[in-house]
């Protein structure tokens, strides 16, 4: 196995400049986001059963499609204020199923997953997103995995079941949003799962969402959001008891390098 040098952390993100455009953006986008969410929540009891009837697909599959569409609508809403740059976000970058690992800078990172070229993906998350009562029913219908409440063993068991059904999984291996733009410590769960199930890992790097709305901020600011899919990493060469550690280091180094270039 090749020894991987420790990743160089990205420098802290530049400070945000909040001018009139941030006020206008927040005044326009927040009400639209609330309206969008209300519309989706109210339409769901009609649209989801109809879609199930029309397509014959399982409800969880339909809800994952619905959630991706929600993200796509959000991207349209903020498009007048935000430029999206998609780098290598093509379908052939994502073997199905795969484990996608994402760096985490903002609440809106998860919304950006509307830009993924496929919809059959679920999230493995900590508990707090499941406490947002307006999103939680959809997350549960989509079979998102609450790793914290379920515990490691049960959580990974659910993840293995989803992968076995061909459903890709997304993880924020940092667990928390970065406060300074640097990559934080990576949890091992996604990498252990990849090694155990021999599922390829696709690192996806996000930048710009920390300018859009970093942790603790209230006003959104116009920005450019870059989403870049890196080459899939085959876990089969990362063997032995510390295989997941080497895989984690390899993926983190690749993400740190890509994020540095995105600056």
């Amino acid at each position: 196995m090749t020894e991987v040098p420790p990743p160089e952390a990205a420098p802290p993100a530049a400070s945000r400049r909040l001018g009139p455009s941030a006020l206008v953006m927040s005044a326009v986008v927040y009400p639209l986001l609330i309206l969008q969410t209300l519309a989706f929540v109210l339409l769901a009891p009609i649209v989801l059963p109809l879609a199930r009837l029309a397509t014959g697909r399982p409800m969880d599959r339909i809800v994952r499609y619905f959630i991706r569409f929600y993200g796509q609508v959000w991207m349209v809403l903020i498009a007048p204020f935000t430029r999206f740059e998609k780098i290598d976000l093509a379908l052939d970058r994502f073997p199905q199923p795969c484990i996608i690992v994402l760096n985490h800078r903002s609440l809106f990172d998860i919304f950006c997953m509307g830009a993924l070229p496929f919809s059959n993906g679920g999230f493995a998350l900590r508990s707090w997103p499941f406490r947002m009562f307006w999103y939680a029913p959809f997350m549960r219908l989509a079979r998102y995995v609450d790793m914290e409440s379920l515990g490691r063993e049960e959580g990974l068991l659910r993840c293995r079941e989803l992968l076995a059904e061909g459903i890709s999984l997304m993880f924020f291996p940092e667990g928390h949003r970065s406060r300074d733009g640097r990559l934080g410590r990576f949890y091992s769960g996604a990498f252990k799962l990849a090694v155990e199930t021999n599922t390829p890992i696709v690192p996806v790097c996000i930048s710009g969402t920390d300018h859009l709305l970093p942790p603790g901020a209230l006003l959104m600011a116009p920005t450019t959001i870059r989403l870049q899919a890196l080459s899939a990493v085959d876990p089969s060469t990362f063997t032995g008891e510390s295989g997941h550690v080497a895989l984690r280091k390899t993926v983190k180094a690749a993400m740190a390098e890509a994020l540095e270039k995105q600056r």
Binding site: R126, E148, R152, G175, R185, F186, Y187, S188, G189, V245
Partner: protein
């Protein structure tokens, strides 16, 4: 001899945890609080037990004592006691 055993335990624990949890070697002092200072959390607790079981080749997960560990020093002492029991 006693010091050698302790150093062996300290080195093994520090190496295993530093690799698993991306910890800085400088921060790994006996008085360092696992959760408050080293940044481990509930998701890490199970992984920590698994990593230490692999490193020392003995079962630790059913031990009540491991739930009361707060600092790295507590952890070294726990491992040392466990080793003596198995000798």
């Amino acid at each position: 001899m006693q010091q050698d055993i302790q150093k062996d335990i300290i080195d093994t624990v520090n190496t295993a945890l530093a690799e698993e949890f991306e910890l800085d070697a400088e921060a790994m002092k006996p008085e360092a609080h696992l959760f408050n200072e080293l940044g481990l959390d509930s998701l890490d607790a199970v992984d920590m037990v698994i990593v230490l079981e692999k490193a020392f080749g003995c079962k630790l997960r059913d031990e009540q004592a491991i739930r009361e560990i707060r600092t790295l020093g507590d952890l070294y002492a726990f491992i040392e006691t466990k080793r003596k029991e198995l000798e």
